[in-house]
C-alpha cells in the first residue's frame, strides 16, 4: 500500500501542476463529451447494469420481487432454453467460419487480374446493404421444400434437396447459410483491404523465387493479412452470437424450438411477459459474448506484437 503511494507521489507533482491551468483554459473542453455521455449512460450503461439486478427478480416493469437465481436455474433446466444456448454457439461458429474461409477465397479471386473485377466486387457486396428481413423472407420462399427454386434446381440435376427450414435437423444451418450469403460481402471487402495493403515487394520476390500460386497464398497472403482476418473473425463472431433478425424472419425459432438462439429466446420471453427471465437471457448472452470476444481480442493483439 505504502509503496504504491510512494510510486504515485513521485509522479504526481509533475503531472498535477499543469492540470488546473489546463482545466480552465483547454481548447478541448470535456463538456463536449457531455451530451453523448448522458445518452450513452442513460440508454446503455444503466440498462446494462440494472440487467444484472433484474435478472434476479420476478418483474413486471413496475414491481419486482427478488427470487435469487431462479431465473438462471430455469434457463439452464428448460430444454427449450438450453437449446437456444447451444444453437447460438453453433450458429456463431458456423457463420464465422464460413465467412472467413469463403471471404478469403473471394478476396483472393477479386484481387487477381480477372475480368469484370469491379462488377463482381459490387455484386458480392450489395446483400450487405439490403434489409435483413427482406433477405430472410425471400430465402424462406426460395428454400420451400417442394416449390422453392433451390430444390427445383437441385432436382433438375438429380439431387434431392433437404427440406431446409422445415426439417429440424437443417433449419438452423439453413438460416446460417443465408446469413453467410448476406454477410460474406463485408468479410470480403475487409479482407481485400488487407490483401491490397501487403507491400508488392513480397510478391515480386516470391515470383523471382518461382513460388507457385498456392504457396504464395499460403506463405504470403495468409500471414500478412492476419489483422484483417482477425477483424473479420471478431466482427462475425459478435454478429453471429447476437443474431436475431434473420432467424426471426425465417423460422421464428421453429420448427418447435430447434432453431431458437438466445436472442430469439429473449424476445419470446419478453413477449410472454416473463421480463425477469428475458433479462436473465440477456445476461447469459452478455457473459457469452464477453467471455468469447474479449479473450480472443487479447489473444490476437498479443500475437500481432510477437510478429
Amino acid at each position: 500500500m505504502s509503496t504504491e503511494v510512494d510510486a504515485r507521489g513521485a509522479v504526481t507533482p509533475a503531472v498535477a501542476a499543469p492540470v488546473p491551468a489546463a482545466r480552465r483554459k483547454s481548447p478541448y473542453p470535456f463538456w463536449f463529451c457531455l451530451p453523448a455521455a448522458v445518452i450513452f449512460f442513460v440508454f446503455f450503461v444503466v440498462p446494462t447494469f440494472s440487467s444484472f439486478f433484474f435478472s434476479l427478480t420476478r418483474w413486471d416493469l413496475s414491481t419486482w420481487e427478488f427470487i435469487g437465481l431462479d431465473n438462471y436455474v430455469n434457463f439452464f433446466q428448460e430444454p427449450a432454453l438450453v437449446i437456444g444456448l447451444k444453437n447460438t454457439l453453433i450458429y456463431a461458429v458456423v457463420t464465422c467460419g464460413l465467412k472467413v474461409v469463403l471471404g478469403i477465397l473471394l478476396a483472393q479471386l477479386l484481387t487477381s487480374q480477372i475480368i469484370a473485377r469491379g462488377f463482381l466486387r459490387s455484386v458480392a457486396f450489395f446483400p450487405v446493404l439490403v434489409s435483413t428481413i427482406g433477405v430472410g423472407l425471400t430465402f424462406t420462399v426460395l428454400m420451400d421444400p417442394s416449390n422453392g427454386l433451390i430444390n427445383k434446381s437441385l432436382a433438375t440435376i438429380g439431387i434431392e434437396g433437404p427440406a431446409w427450414l422445415v426439417d429440424p435437423k437443417y433449419a438452423l444451418l439453413s438460416v446460417a447459410l443465408v446469413d453467410v450469403w448476406k454477410g460474406v460481402g463485408l468479410a470480403t471487402v475487409i479482407l481485400i483491404a488487407g490483401i491490397v495493403s501487403i507491400p508488392r515487394e513480397y510478391f515480386e520476390a516470391s515470383a523471382v523465387d518461382g513460388a507457385s500460386a498456392f504457396r504464395r497464398f499460403w506463405h504470403i497472403v495468409l500471414p500478412l493479412s492476419k489483422p484483417a482476418i482477425t477483424t473479420v473473425i471478431i466482427l462475425s463472431l459478435i454478429g453471429g452470437l447476437r443474431s436475431f433478425d434473420l432467424i426471426w424472419a425465417m423460422t421464428r425459432g421453429g420448427p418447435g424450438f430447434t432453431s431458437d438462439v438466445i436472442a430469439s429466446v429473449i424476445y419470446k420471453q419478453y413477449q410472454a411477459g416473463f421480463y425477469g427471465l428475458s433479462t436473465a437471457g440477456n445476461v447469459v448472452l452478455f457473459i457469452l459474448v464477453t467471455a468469447i470476444v474479449f479473450p480472443l481480442n487479447r489473444f490476437f493483439t498479443r500475437q500481432e506484437v510477437d510478429l
Binding site: F32, F43, V45, V46, I115, L129, V130, T132, N282
Partner: protein, 275 residues
C-alpha cells in the same frame, strides 16, 4: 496462357456470382411484378403480365396506407438519429483525440464495450417507460444514438488524428473559443468522414428491425422493416405484394449504393479495421 486462364476464371466467376447473388434479387423483382395467383406459384420466371406499378400501389395502400406512414416514420428516425450521432460523436472523438488525460482509458473502454456488449433490451424498455419515452419515436431515436455512438466515435477519431494541430493553434491565437474552434474550423474539415458516417449509419438504422420491434411497438408506429409481415400469414400470403413491399424498402439503400458504392465500402472497412 496466363491471361487466358484469368479470362476463364473471370467468366466462371461472373456466372457463379450471377447465380448466387443476382438470381435471388431477380426473383424478388419478377415476383413483385406478377399477379396474385401467378406469384403464388413461386416459380422463377418472367411474369406473363407485368403488374409492378399496380402491386406497388396495392402494397402502399394496404392496411390504411401503413407502408407510407412507415416510410415517414423510418425517414424521421433515420434522419434525426444520424444527425444527432454525427454531431455528438464528432465532439467526443475530437476531445478524446486531442486531449491526453486520465479519462481517455475509461472512454476507450466504454467505446469498446458499446461495440461488443449486446444491449439489455428489457431494462432499456424499463428506462424508456420511466422517462415516458416508451412507444415514442423520440425514445427510439435516443436509443439508436446510444447504440451507434461507439462505431461513429471510432471513425471520427481516426480521421481527426490526421488533421494537424497547427490549425487549432492558429485559430486559438486568432482568439477563437472552443466552440468556434470546433464548429467553424474543425467540423467543416470532417466533411468526407461525415459523408461516410451518414451513409453507413443511415443504412444500418433504416434496415434496423429488432430495436423498433422492442421499443416502438404498435401499428401506427411501424417502421418499414416491420411492414413486410403485413402480407405474410400462415395460409394466405399475398406473395406479389410481399415482394413488392420488399422491393420498395430495398430501393433506398440500393440507390445510395449505386451512387456511393466506393464510400460505403471505405467506411465499413475503415471502421471495421480500426474496431
Amino acid at each position: 496462357m496466363r491471361s487466358r486462364r484469368h479470362l476463364w476464371l473471370g467468366l466462371v466467376g461472373i456466372v457463379l456470382f450471377a447465380v448466387v447473388f443476382l438470381v435471388p434479387f431477380a426473383f424478388v423483382v419478377f415476383t413483385a411484378a406478377k399477379t396474385r395467383t401467378e406469384a403464388g406459384e413461386l416459380q422463377f420466371s418472367l411474369p406473363t403480365t407485368w403488374t409492378l406499378l399496380q402491386n406497388f400501389q396495392d402494397a402502399l395502400a394496404a392496411r390504411d396506407y401503413m407502408l407510407i406512414i412507415a416510410f415517414v416514420n423510418s425517414t424521421v428516425l433515420t434522419v434525426a438519429s444520424v444527425a444527432i450521432l454525427v454531431v455528438l460523436s464528432a465532439m467526443v472523438a475530437y476531445v478524446v483525440q486531442r486531449r491526453r488525460s486520465r479519462w481517455n482509458g475509461l472512454i476507450n473502454f466504454l467505446v469498446l464495450s458499446g461495440l461488443i456488449i449486446p444491449p439489455a433490451v428489457v431494462p432499456t424498455v424499463w428506462v424508456l417507460q420511466k422517462l415516458g419515452l416508451f412507444k415514442t419515436l423520440g425514445g427510439l431515436i435516443l436509443v439508436e444514438v446510444a447504440f451507434g455512438l461507439s462505431f461513429c466515435i471510432l471513425l471520427f477519431r481516426a480521421f481527426i488524428a490526421t488533421i494537424p494541430r497547427d490549425l487549432d493553434e492558429a485559430a486559438i491565437i486568432d482568439g477563437a473559443g472552443p466552440v468556434r474552434l470546433f464548429f467553424k474550423v474543425i467540423f467543416p474539415l470532417l466533411k468526407s468522414v461525415i459523408v461516410t458516417v451518414v451513409i453507413v449509419q443511415s443504412v444500418i438504422i433504416f434496415n434496423d428491425f429488432a430495436y423498433p420491434l422492442y421499443f416502438l411497438p404498435g401499428d401506427e408506429n411501424a417502421t418499414v422493416q416491420l411492414t413486410v409481415f403485413n402480407f405474410q400469414s400462415q395460409f394466405n400470403t399475398q406473395y406479389n405484394l410481399l415482394f413488392a413491399d420488399i422491393l420498395l424498402i430495398t430501393i433506398p439503400p440500393l440507390l445510395l449504393y449505386l451512387f456511393l458504392n466506393r464510400r460505403i465500402v471505405e467506411g465499413l472497412t475503415a471502421g471495421a479495421v480500426k474496431g
